[in-house]
């Protein structure tokens, strides 16, 4: 926690600390901080601002090779600044992690998962025929696929963005991984994962494909991707594997005990709401729609938030960022309307803000 001081400054100390984390403002912000700290007679001024400057704008990535075992993290194979490996999975994990870090820094001035420059650890070649990628609470883990249905899971930038975002969610709203809050947790990972890909491709909302995991299926599978935010339920339809089960509207909400209450299924609903909002606003999705989602995730949502709470929180965030009745706030309302959720404006107005976020 930052120390609050009764001494008044024109620019509050916490804002200076945040500015110090931005390369373009760092020197001036630090000089001001050091000066004001000296005025207060504090000596350990550099310690005091250390949290804001650790790893400032610097990625710290490490990639491990699990060597087809399940012990994590495995053998260190590439750390920050090291030359590329001969192993494509190692380089994908490294490069895509970097692109995701850059996305959060450029779009929201967020310095890594914890906003304090946390090191980004990834393990590749996890287990044998492992058809999955996951966030284990501390790091990202990728399998090589099974050779029948799935290719290697490091292949897609949005998959890496999705996994890293699970870390961001854990560090912020910490949405329970169960039922609607779990489906929101999943959706947040798809939303930001997709935007990482859009920024990397320099695509506006109407140019983006809004697919998650495009190219992850091997050619024998009849499907373009694992999920579609633009048209949930249409990403694949394969005679042996089945059909994409995602609903695009509350009317199709799936009640199930599988998959923690359908967290990867019902995520289609908030995914589609975000898509509708981003397309209505136009331009780069991370600039306005994404900023609204980021504000809601980091300041308004809590571990038990459901879809209604997300609708209210994003509506409130849009009002806070762009003004009540703004184009942006109306787009948020329309987007949730489009998936069968009516924003509760009074709840949004009084939405409880998380303390200390």
């Amino acid at each position: 926690m930052s120390h609050r001081s009764p001494i008044c400054c024109i620019v509050p100390e916490d804002i200076l600390c945040r500015l110090a984390a931005l390369p373009e403002h760092r020197d001036r912000a630090l000089r001001t901080l050091i000066l004001t700290e000296r005025l207060r007679g504090r000596r350990a001024v550099l310690d005091h601002v250390a949290s804001a400057t650790t790893g400032t704008g610097q990625k710290r990535r490490t990639v491990y090779d699990a060597q087809h075992g399940t012990t994590l993290p495995g053998k260190l194979v590439r750390s920050e600044g090291a030359a590329a490996s001969a192993d494509v999975a190692v380089n994908e994990a490294y490069d895509f992690c970097g692109a995701t870090y850059d996305f959060y820094m450029k779009a929201y001035s967020r310095n890594s998962i914890d906003d304090k420059g946390m090191r980004l650890d990834s393990s590749v070649h996890y287990d044998q025929d492992y058809d999955n990628a996951f966030w284990d609470g501390q790091q990202m883990v990728y399998g090589d696929g099974d050779g029948t249905i799935f290719d290697r899971f490091t292949k897609c930038l949005d998959v890496v963005g999705h996994e890293l975002t699970h870390g961001v969610t854990a560090a912020t709203a910490n949405l329970d991984y169960q039922g609607q809050s779990g489906a929101l947790n999943e959706s947040v990972s798809d939303v930001f994962g997709s935007m990482v890909k859009q920024m990397s491709n320099n695509q506006t909302a109407d140019q983006a494909d809004w697919l998650i995991g495009e190219g992850l299926f091997l050619p024998s599978v009849n499907g373009v991707a694992l999920r579609s935010m633009k048209a949930p339920g249409t990403a694949y339809d394969d005679p042996q594997l089945g059909k994409d089960p995602q609903p695009a509207n509350m009317s199709g909400y799936v009640n199930t005990t599988s998959d923690q209450g359908g967290v990867h299924t019902n995520s289609g609903i908030p995914n589609h709401a975000f898509y509708l909002i981003a397309v209505e606003l136009g331009g780069f999705s991370w600039e306005r729609a994404g900023r609204i989602w980021y504000e809601a995730l980091t300041k308004r949502l809590t571990s038990s938030s459901d879809f209604q709470a997300a609708a209210d929180a994003t509506f409130g965030a849009a009002g806070n960022l762009y003004g009540a009745g703004s184009t942006e706030q109306k787009a948020v309302q329309n987007g949730w309307d489009g998936v069968g959720i009516k924003v509760n404006q009074s709840a949004a107005g009084t939405a409880k803000k998380k303390v200390g976020a």
Partner: protein, 113 residues
């Protein structure tokens, strides 16, 4: 003996599941399955094995075994899977995947006579 198996969740959220009946399995597969069930001490496992620290995008499993004299069902997340249960989960997962691969192969052969 009947074994019901479901694997849900994971990044893809695609559920694999099915039932294995020893009456329809080759004898060597039945004996392998028996060996893995015994090795896991399946009937002594708690009905629910879960951690709240499972992270995200991990697999969820349900396994039910009915031998005619003994019946037991368990549900668990991948992270909490006991070491001696893992070979059984792998066998069941591989068997389901092989089934899909075989069906795909057959469909392909039909398309290309």
């Amino acid at each position: 003996m009947r074994v019901r198996f479901e694997r849900s969740g994971g990044f893809a959220g695609i559920t694999l599941g099915g039932e294995f009946d020893s009456a329809n399995l080759p004898p060597e597969q039945t004996s392998e399955l028996n060996r893995l069930i015994e090795g896991s001490r399946f009937f002594e496992l708690p009905a629910v094995i879960r951690t709240t620290q499972a992270g995200a995008d991990r697999f969820q499993f349900t396994v039910s075994v009915d031998t005619g004299t003994q019946k037991h069902s368990i549900e668990l997340d991948e992270k909490s899977a006991p070491e001696n249960l893992r070979p059984l989960l792998k066998w069941l997962t591989d068997a389901q995947r092989n089934l899909i691969a075989t069906k795909k192969q057959r469909a392909q052969n039909v398309q290309e006579p």
